[in-house]
């Protein structure tokens, strides 16, 4: 685990805290604003940054993240510029893991080998590619692992015991448990079921198991953080950004502040602290 993702999870384990993984769409609403947000995320406590690569046809995303992708594409975001975003982020932060999340076609179009070389060079630590299942591991997963970039696998409620080993086989970095059958931004299902699913996966892997899809509030982050190694928050952050824009996508309030306010709250949830920094892990 001698990379940023591995190191970060080891540090958190030593502290006894779950990770807060924050998602933002690269280039939403524009390059400079998303860079400013990205730089602010570690300062307010985000442990891992998931950077969305916009795609014209995001079939696993709900309306909020679809709209963010559209804003980014309209603003001229490309995969090349998303790598550039990371490169500029790395000038101020060499510790926080950055994981790219998105769909395969822009990478395939860029060329897998060229992409992996450029991603490594830019300081990318891992990839979450929604439409690449283990059956397609030759496409990107195996070349990425060979290039030293983690391939973070999604496990879902439909991944049963018979299939789980297949999903974990070439996984690296961490395992991303999708809390529900559905698209990003849907309501969070029963935390008891999520905890059981996480425990089941943890029994089969040494990798950290993080939970995403549906976590929007500090309370939810708190509950899910207790039951897992990390909590992913996406739609809530993207919504907070969208709320600072007018109907044409122009920035009319402070998106950086909107995100840092929300993330500060989420951090308290995940760290099992109340807003004054007191430990509440045993109180709930």
């Amino acid at each position: 685990m001698n990379n940023r993702i591995g190191r970060r999870f080891e540090e958190l384990k030593a502290e006894g805290s779950a990770a807060l993984i924050t998602y933002l769409m690269g280039g939403d609403p524009d390059f400079d604003t998303s860079l400013a947000i990205m730089k602010a995320l570690p300062e307010c406590g985000s442990d891992v940054i998931e950077l969305g690569m916009p795609f014209s046809d995001p079939l696993a995303d709900g309306a909020v993240i679809q709209a963010a992708g559209q804003r980014a594409l309209k603003g001229g975001q490309t995969l090349k510029r998303t790598l550039q975003l990371t490169r500029e982020f790395r000038q101020v932060d060499d510790q926080t893991p950055v994981v790219l999340m998105g769909y395969f076609n822009p990478i395939y179009s860029y060329g897998v080998d060229r992409f992996l070389a450029d991603a490594r060079d830019a300081g990318i630590d891992g990839l979450i590619i929604v439409d690449l299942s283990p059956e397609m591991d030759q496409e990107l997963c195996i070349p990425a692992s060979r290039a030293g970039i983690d391939f973070i696998r999604l496990a879902t409620p439909t991944t049963d015991d018979a299939r789980l080993p297949k999903v974990l086989e070439n996984a690296s970095g961490f395992v991303y448990y999708v809390s529900m059958n559905g698209i990003t931004g849907n309501a969070l299902p029963n935390p008891v079921d999520i905890a059981a699913a996480v425990a089941r996966i943890q029994k089969s892997t040494l990798l950290p198991v993080c939970v995403g899809f549906g976590v929007k509030t500090a309370e939810q982050a708190h509950v899910i953080g207790r039951a897992s190694d990390g909590v992913v928050v996406g739609t809530a952050i993207v919504s907070a950004i969208a709320d600072t824009l007018d109907s044409t996508g122009r920035v009319v309030a402070d998106p950086v502040k909107a995100v840092t306010n929300l993330v500060t709250e989420l951090v308290c949830g995940v760290r099992q602290l109340d807003r004054r920094g007191r430990d509440v892990s045993t109180a709930i």
Binding site: L79, P106, Y108, L132, E135
Partner: protein
């Protein structure tokens, strides 16, 4: 043909990974993978089950009305003065297009898999109508996703689906056509994977759909092949079909793929010309990429973002194509050519006037290709054109385009 290595047979795909050469595959979210794998298992079992085959046969004969006729279009032949033109009359099927062939098959699979809810995407509405029809017959609730652009230009089919009891969901993302409808259908499927069967209408999507849809549609080519042998005592010189996703085309082509003397032409929507982005000729002007569960030829920009495209015909208005067509293109077995909006519109009117058959605008693209090549062929040569659907749904749109006073 060029020096490409020629396979022993063009009819063996897909392979175990669901690939036709480098095309196809299963590029779907993990949530869907177990279901897609299960569908493949169930499909293999069903294919070998005489009871399944018998039920499909029964429906095909008495509900769909198969076999469809192979009609010698003597007036069109005389008008063009060249090769004999035969029309495979899929427009005479129940619901008015070839789409029902696939829907009766898939509804039986859905039943077999114990699913209780049907979803479908539709462009021209032909597949939506066919899916809503079998859902009505078998008592399944049915949701059809359709772009609002298409709902506007194919109103009669929207009304038909609603009368059949389907919930027609208007899709407003993108340019609101078939691609966007398919995105929404996939989002629904991911959310309702436990009880929902997704009836894909094109020979596209993740494996096993391209193969499964092809197998259900191959009845078109199998019938046409034996009908022409009986009628003419020989195989045709050319067979032609229009291609959006490519289900009617692969259905006609597949049984003829190993008949080396038969020239096969797939007609893509050339829209307003191939220079800009106002067409849907993904194989003439696109490049390989991954969308909707498979790798195939796609219209895309330099960054791999999918382009919207354009066609006068809603059913061809899709920026990709089924993966088997992509493979057949690269292998050189099938020629894919564009036909432009105005050529299709002319063929639509020509067939209507000289044969008294109003074709769907999709099928009119295939007719237009026959119009182009028939006059330079000999009178003893034979062309079969797949008349994949009837044009009732397009009458209003065409009347508007022609500024017809009604």
């Amino acid at each position: 043909m060029t020096a490409r290595p020629v396979p022993n047979s063009f009819r063996t795909g897909a392979d175990e990974q669901g690939m036709f050469g480098k095309y196809g595959g299963r590029f779907v979210p993990e949530t869907l993978m177990p279901l897609v794998l299960n569908l493949e298992r169930q499909w293999r079992e069903a294919k070998g089950d005489p009871a399944f085959e018998a039920e499909l046969q029964q429906l095909s004969t008495f509900y769909v009305g198969r076999p469809s006729t192979l009609y010698f279009a003597d007036s069109l032949t005389r008008h063009l003065g060249g090769a004999k033109i035969y029309l495979k009359r899929e427009d005479l099927n129940h619901t008015g297009s070839h789409k029902i062939n696939n829907c009766v098959g898939q509804i039986l699979l859905a039943k077999r898999m114990g699913k209780t809810r049907i979803i479908a995407e539709t462009g021209a509405g032909q597949h939506g109508v066919a899916a809503a029809t079998v859902a009505a017959k078998f008592g399944f609730p049915c949701v059809v996703y359709m772009g609002i652009t298409d709902m506007e230009r194919q109103k009669p089919n929207v009304a038909r689906m609603k009368l059949l009891g389907a919930d027609v969901q208007a899709v407003r993302s993108g340019r609101s056509t078939l691609k966007d409808a398919m995105n929404e259908a996939l989002r629904d499927w991911v959310t309702n994977v436990h009880d929902t069967y997704y009836v894909i209408g094109s020979a596209a999507g993740p494996h096993p759909y391209p193969e499964l849809v092809r197998d259900f549609q191959s009845v078109i080519g199998a019938e046409a092949r034996s009908q022409i042998l009986e009628r003419e005592g020989c195989l045709p010189d050319v067979i032609i079909a229009a291609i959006g996703g490519g289900s009617n085309a692969i259905g006609l082509f597949h049984p003829f793929l190993d008949d080396v003397g038969v020239r096969i032409i797939g007609v893509e929507a050339g829209g307003r010309g191939l220079k800009g982005v106002e067409h849907c000729a993904s194989m003439s002007a696109g490049r390989p990429g991954v969308l909707h569960g498979n790798r195939t030829y796609l219209l895309q920009d330099d960054d791999g973002q999918i382009l919207e495209g354009h066609s006068i015909s809603a059913g061809l208005d899709y920026p990709g194509v089924g993966p088997e067509h992509a493979w057949l293109r690269d292998s050189g077995r099938v020629d894919y050519v564009p036909v432009f909006d105005d050529e299709a519109l002319e063929a639509f009117q020509l067939l209507t006037r000289v044969e008294g058959i109003i074709p769907a605008l999709e099928s009119a693209h295939a007719i237009a290709q026959a119009v182009k090549i028939a006059p330079s062929m000999d009178a003893n040569q034979i062309i079969i054109v797949n008349l994949s659907g009837r044009g009732d749904k397009d009458v209003q749109s065409v009347a508007d385009i022609l500024n017809m006073e009604i």
